[in-house]
């Protein structure tokens, strides 16, 4: 030791030992103690799957009854005998057997030709449009973020909802960006724990207490300090809470061994373990198939379909399947004609999937025309905000006009 402890006297502790804990910490302690596995039939939960990169809708919901499809896709077209049939004219990609089974059980809604006017072919702008539901301006909040803001009764952190929503991934999508609430992003619980030096385990409580006090009273007028303070407190709270919740989950369903499967299992663990959020989100990326599309897209669609089929089975085993629906979307579909690299370039409209036991399965809307195109791209038939309005009004019991800033029809899928 280079510093002599004899020179290191402490001073004035009576004055300094102020207890600074905020009330939310106590509220949390109460909440954390009351975790119990959830019983079904109490909540309406939405899981959002974002398929990033622009999924090629034409090779997902395949118009195998249309000759124009085979003309536009000499290399990439999937032959009619391989397609998993939905109706006489269309069917699913051969790797999507999980979705095909859900369809047979009436638990999968396929909504065709979903898009918006004046489509933007930039990944980032188009994804932002889907996330914010604001095609005409740059918005700060996501459509579900605004839902959470409106649903926030000021008791967040209190008894009803500790976390209004959870993003199962490292970075929050703009969909859940809100002005009043902060949605935690957690990729998994295994590493999500506030650590201290294992050699000095006795000091852990003192460190955690100091951390909590300092964060609760950290008042500094600089940009981002409020964000850092809230997220820092959330992180510490979430680590205890999620660890306990996930521990109380017991399941037997096998999920596919990839990160999307792991993520869906984590969401099931949170739902069954009593986390009590109404919205969960997860991403599956790399749909940007400009070249050598067939194998890449097949792998991703299989991950999506198998992962969600396992999730549905798991919810059914826990008798929670009547509480949950899943929405799958991508920022755009792809060009009708394939390019020279056995891939497809950025396009416009595409299919959206909604699945779960409460869903009225079937095919909604007509397949987009393959001959009446807009600069080589599909013309959309159903505005994506119609899908959102249906979920907000008919599933979440919210007022879609307030959230979407306009009147959109409902579909009948839920």
């Amino acid at each position: 030791m280079n510093v002599s402890r004899r020179n290191f006297l402490t001073s004035g502790l009576g004055v300094l030992g102020v207890v600074l804990s905020g009330p939310q910490i106590f509220a949390l302690a109460a909440q954390a103690a009351s975790i119990a596995p959830r019983a079904g039939g109490k909540e309406r939960i939405l899981v959002v799957v974002q398929m990033g990169g622009g999924n090629d809708g034409l090779n997902t919901v395949i118009p195998c009854g249309m000759g124009a499809y085979y003309q536009a896709r000499p290399q990439l077209a999937i032959q009619p005998e391989q397609v998993l049939p939905l109706t006489g004219q269309i069917g699913l990609h051969p790797s999507m057997s999980g979705f095909a089974d859900l369809c047979k059980q009436g638990k999968l809604a396929v909504i065709q030709a979903v898009g918006y006017p004046n489509p933007n072919r930039s990944h980032f702008r188009s994804m932002e449009i889907w996330q914010t539901a604001q095609p005409d301006r740059i918005a700060d909040t996501g459509w579900l973020g605004r839902y959470l803001d409106l649903a926030d009764t000021g008791t967040a952190g209190g008894a009803e909802h500790l976390f209004p929503a959870v993003n199962a991934g490292p970075l929050l999508p703009k969909t859940l960006s809100a002005s009043k609430v902060i949605v935690p992003s957690v990729a998994g619980v295994a590493d999500f724990r506030f650590r201290t030096d294992p050699r000095y385990a006795d000091d852990r409580n003192a460190q955690v207490a100091a951390f909590t006090d300092i964060y609760s009273s950290f008042d500094l007028q600089r940009p981002h300090v409020d964000l850092l303070r809230k997220v820092g407190l959330d992180a510490r709270e979430a680590s205890d809470f999620l660890t306990r919740s996930v521990r109380s989950y017991k399941g037997t369903v096998a999920y596919p061994g990839n990160s999307f499967g792991d993520g869906m299992k984590f969401i099931a663990q949170m739902i069954a373990g009593g986390v009590n959020s109404r919205i969960y989100s997860i991403g599956l990326d790399s749909f940007d198939t400009h070249a050598n599309q067939s194998r890449k897209q097949g792998t991703l669609l299989k991950q999506l379909s198998d992962g969600l089929a396992a999730f549905q089975k798991d919810l059914e085993a826990h008798q929670l399947d009547r509480d949950v629906i899943v929405l799958c979307f991508s920022e755009f579909g792809r060009r009708v004609s394939e390019n020279a690299g056995r891939g497809t370039d950025h396009g416009t409209a595409g299919p959206v999937f909604v699945l779960g036991s409460p869903v009225k399965g079937g095919v909604y809307g007509d397949h987009p025309s393959l001959t009446d195109l807009d600069a080589g791209d599909l013309k959309f038939k159903i505005d994506f905000r119609t899908v959102y309005a249906t979920i907000l009004d008919r599933w979440l019991g919210a007022d879609s006009r307030q959230i979407l800033g306009g009147n959109f029809d409902s579909l009948a899928f839920v």
Binding site: M1, N2, V3, R5, F8, L9, T10, S11, G12, L13, L16, V18, L20, R121, S122, H123, F124, R125, N167, P170, L171, L172, S185, A187, F192, R193, F194, R195, T196, D197, P198, R199, Y200, D202, D203, N205, A206, A210, I214, Y215, S217, F218, D219, L220, R222, P223, H224, L228, R229, V231, G232, D234, A235, D285, H290, A291, N339, A340, G341, D345
Partner: protein, 445 residues
């Protein structure tokens, strides 16, 4: 609240933004040069002998066909370079021309691309953009290998306008199609660029009002000289180095420096670093540190010399995986670095740097050695010393009080009149540095 009042504070600010922080030794040296002298040195990396770094990384015998080696190589460069702004700009360009191993799958091509970015780091943008358009890793990343006459692939053409130059809203879908034709035949061999004339479309094209038999280098010239490109780059550089929400006049000044000097980057940087805005209270401790800044800055400030091989993985878990940006737009940066998950990683990085993984190994740091010779009389002075070192003392008074109370208590949290033994002292000092590294201010550059 402390204000950055001394020149030393502003030099620290410059080194956090224009570099990756500084060791105490480096800080003294830059301090002796003064702000202007330090900035001149940063802006002219070619004048600084970097052979010590090159020798050091040479001795590591990195295998550039392995992505793990490539990541470590770059982390070492960030930590030990004597040309911090050159390295910081290389990181900027990596985020700007974001190319990922996830698709390219060739570490050596990414290494070559990294050398290209470092070569032009503070140089001429048009030359860099031409190099990038011919870069084998980029050609794979944005599919230009498949961009052929009569069957264009639009991927590179779209992103070169949307993300690399003029930005969204400053081109049409027609411009994308035309630029794609101009880049047809821009292919690669396994190791180098190859212009395939058989696949190039020699027909007439019109891009942003310019017509003719345009080739890829014409596109690079047309795009580099656009005022929209100047503003796009100026805004992005200001956001990267200075402020998340700059005033338009500041952006205009930086953009003008680009256009007036024939698309040079160094004058833009000089405009930023000598601006009133950069040396203002509004800019001080006002940007969220990127994982690279946080990790490398910690190594430097605390003089950690044992760089474990998995530090790039730690950075990746905080949201910044070198050579694996999330998509072609790169990292959003700013407040987007912060989520519950990444914040927990930051806390746990602090725990790891201050703690001891195994009993038989030395820790990364020895706080008592760091405090040696400081003649610190009591817990309050100890707290002030580490607060000054790590966050320039920029915390509310309640934080200082609570840290002092923490240091002045025993392992069970009971107040102490004196630290009873060396074990308690070590535990408390490690805990103190850990707690300071978790502070909101420590996440700010």
């Amino acid at each position: 609240m402390l204000t950055a009042s001394t020149e030393r504070n502003w030099i620290g600010h410059l080194l956090r933004r224009g570099g990756f922080g500084a060791t105490p030794e480096e800080m003294s040296r830059y301090d002796s040069l003064g702000y202007e002298g330090a900035l001149e040195e940063l802006l002219n990396p070619q004048r600084v002998d970097n052979s010590q770094l090159e020798d050091f990384v040479g001795q590591q015998q990195f295998d550039f066909t392995r992505i793990e080696d490539l990541k470590r190589w770059w982390l070492y460069r960030m930590a030990f370079t004597r040309r911090p702004l050159e390295e910081k700009m290389t990181l900027f360009w990596h985020g700007h021309f974001a190319t990922s191993f996830a698709k390219v799958r060739e570490p050596y091509s990414l290494y070559m691309q990294n050398l290209l970015m470092r070569k032009h780091a503070l140089g001429n943008f048009q030359e860099l953009l031409l190099g990038i358009s011919m870069d084998p890793a980029m050609i794979v990343w944005l599919d230009n290998q498949q961009n052929k006459k009569g069957k264009p692939n639009e991927n590179y053409a779209r992103e070169v306008m949307e993300l690399f130059t003029v930005g969204i809203g400053n081109y049409t879908e027609q411009d994308v199609k035309q630029a794609a034709r101009a880049f047809t035949g821009w292919q690669r061999t396994p190791a180098a660029f190859r212009f395939n004339r058989n696949q190039h479309d020699y027909g007439d094209k019109t891009l942003l009002g310019v017509s003719g038999d345009l080739n890829g280098d014409d596109v690079v010239r047309i795009l580099s000289r656009q005022p929209a490109t100047a503003r796009h780059l100026a805004l992005k550089l200001i956001k990267f180095f200075a402020l998340d929400d700059p005033d338009p006049a500041f952006v205009d000044r930086a953009a003008a420096a680009y256009l007036q000097t024939g698309y040079q980057i160094k004058p833009v940087l000089k405009t930023i670093f000598t601006s009133r805005e950069f040396m203002s209270e509004r800019c001080y401790h006002a940007k969220v540190k990127s994982p690279a800044e946080l990790v490398v800055g910690t190594l430097k400030t605390l003089q950690v010399t044992r760089l474990d091989g998995d530090l790039p993985t730690v950075m990746a878990r905080m949201g910044q995986s070198l050579f694996e940006p999330p998509n072609v737009k790169g990292w959003d940066g700013g407040p987007a670095w912060i989520s519950t998950d990444t914040m927990m990683e930051r806390f746990n990085f602090a725990a790891r740097i201050t703690g001891q993984k195994f009993n038989d190994l030395e820790g990364y740091i020895s706080p008592s050695e760091l405090a040696a010779g400081q003649r610190l009389k009591d817990a309050g002075e100890m707290v002030d010393y580490f607060l000054s070192m790590l966050v320039e003392g920029d915390v509310p008074p309640s934080t200082r009080q609570r840290l002092t109370a923490y240091v002045s208590s025993d392992l069970a949290g009971r107040p102490l009149a004196a630290i009873p033994d060396d074990t308690t002292l070590d535990a408390k000092l490690r805990g103190l540095v850990h707690l300071i590294m978790t502070l909101p201010t420590y996440q700010l550059a």
